[in-house]
Amino acid sequence: MFSDRLEEELRRCPEGTREALIAFLENGNSSDFETFARGILVRNIDEDYHDVLLSGSDDLRFMEDLGVDSLSMIEIAINFEDALGIALIDDELKEMRTLGEVKEHLLKRYQEKNSPSAKKSKTP
């Protein structure tokens, strides 16, 4: 269903991440998105920050609260791009500081990609 690379990444995420991604891609349910997104983040941040992430709010800041530097952010972005079939723009990502901002941006990109006009424009 997914590329080998994404399957390998999902295998290293917390249990339930892959299933949540599949469910989200099928039904667009926001709670599935939440589970999948936090799973990807847990896989990419240091163990010391796992509890903060899992118990924290959308106001958590990537760098200050979750120890995510710019290189980790690239790895996280690659995971989300592969999973959602979207392309993220570097300049936009650099502007985002909190978990909530990133999640909102991901959903926006995903919805744009799946909007009727976007699908129509891809029809040969």
């Binding site: 690379r5 390998e8 990419n44 290189l71 980790s72 790895e75 690659i78």
Partner: protein, 424 residues
């Protein structure tokens, strides 16, 4: 300005013989080698090479560094692990061990402007191969962000400099198999000139298929299929070297600084020399022109003469041409003493770990001397008749060398010789 004395106050070694100094010394004293048949070598397309090495206690086979394990059970943070390749992983352990042996804490060297880091490695060909393969397969935007820093020559400096928070001098050396000897030599100079009080000399090599097997293309590797008879320096049965790897860290320290803190003293670097062959990109000068001159310069730098030498740890990897060229140079250096000064190659036990050979062999020589013996060349049963007359003991000698000359030679005809004195 008076030249500062440079002491060896710590070391850590991870090699095919083991990962702690006691085990390695025991194997050195009992002449136990670290070779084995590697299926990935033997089964590789058109390969005639089957013997290689693995690093005991470590697992670094996975393409994901988070899966790796080390014998000390040390855990590293995700941001540390992501930039690693096998030899940097080994070097973390070797450096931690070196600090322990030196009585230093990580806090003692962190953000200390008088502590520098000199490194030597050829980079990680496995990591480079993996990252480039990913880039070609998935595109540049899907390339590992740490792909460059984890692969290229210099990777040891990048990773260790950040991990140990080095703020003094930091640079790397790339003279192939003479690299760590160069790092030691320039580390010596840097301290002797008063520019740093302490230098960590760190070298490492992956020693895996992608690091070693390409040397089969130049027919430089041993094609023996018996690990007991694969590495045969100076022996007329030799067919090439056995590639190996691991990591070595030496702590060089300015004498007053070391004595003030009551540091253990394993030895002293007395001087060094370097000279080049100017002959071929890869083949040594047949008469050992460069290595002869590097030995002469090293003795002059150390204010020693040939009469002072008690032991020569030769570069001798087991290649047909290299051993003869070095043997001729040693005979010319020693003159009438050539039949009395013991000369040996510890690569008969360790294999040839490329860039880390020089520093590793200084460590092994100091360890042997401190334990009261002079290493022989294990398995040397049929001395090559093309060698000049030299004293090439097969078994370890029950004699403590006081002045040791250690040679290293690399591609491009780079030659380095170091003069060290063990301390009890």
């Amino acid at each position: 300005m008076e030249r500062k004395r440079v002491l060896v106050t710590g070391f850590g070694l991870v090699c095919p013989l083991g990962y702690n100094s006691d085990t390695i010394l025991q194997k050195l004293s009992q002449q136990e080698h670290g070779f084995m048949i590697l299926p990935e070598f033997a089964n590789f397309k058109t390969s005639t090479v089957s013997v290689g090495t693995r690093i005991p206690g470590f697992s670094t086979e996975s393409s994901h560094s988070e899966d790796w394990s080390n014998p000390g059970g040390r855990k590293y943070r995700k941001e540390v692990l992501r930039g690693l390749n096998p030899h940097v992983y080994y070097a973390l352990q070797a450096t931690e061990e070196a600090l322990i042996s030196s009585g230093l804490q990580r806090e003692d060297i962190a953000e200390d402007d008088s502590t520098g880091l000199f490194t030597a490695s050829a980079g990680s060909t496995s990591s480079l191969y993996q990252n480039l393969e990913q880039m070609h397969r998935d595109g540049v935007r899907r390339t590992n962000p740490l792909g460059v820093a984890s692969s290229v020559t210099g990777t040891l400096s990048y990773n260790l400099g950040a991990y140990f928070k080095i703020t003094g001098s930091s640079c790397g050396f790339a003279s192939a198999c003479a690299s760590s000897a160069h790092a030691l030599g320039f580390g010596f100079d840097t301290i002797a000139l008063g520019r740093q009080k302490r230098i960590l000399v760190v070298s490492g090599e992956d020693g895996d298929l992608n690091a070693v097997l390409p040397f089969a293309g130049m027919h430089a590797l041993s094609t023996a299929d018996d690990p007991d008879e694969a590495s045969l320096p100076f022996d007329q049965r030799r067919k090439g070297f056995v590639g190996s790897g691991g990591a070595v860290t030496m702590i060089l320290e300015e004498a007053d600084t070391a004595l003030q803190r009551g540091a253990p003293i394993f030895g002293e670097v007395l001087g060094w020399g370097q000279a080049s062959d100017g002959y071929s990109p890869v083949i040594p000068h047949p008469e050992g022109r460069g290595i002869l001159r590097s030995m002469q310069l090293a003795l002059a730098s150390a204010s020693r003469c040939r009469d002072d030498i008690d032991y020569i740890n030769a570069h001798a990897t087991g290649t047909p041409v290299g051993d003869i060229a070095e043997g001729k140079a040693i005979a010319e250096l020693l003159g009438e003493r050539s039949t009395e000064v013991p000369v040996s190659s510890t690569k008969a036990l360790t294999g040839h770990p490329l860039s880390m050979a020089g520093a590793m062999e200084v460590v092994l020589s100091l360890q042997a001397a401190r334990a009261g013996f002079t290493p022989g060349t294990a398995n040397l049963l049929q001395v090559d008749p093309k060698l000049p007359s030299l004293f090439l003991p097969r078994e370890n000698l029950d004699k403590t060398p006081k002045c040791i000359l250690s040679n290293s030679s690399g591609f491009g005809g780079a030659n380095v010789s170091l003069v060290v004195e063990p301390h009890a």
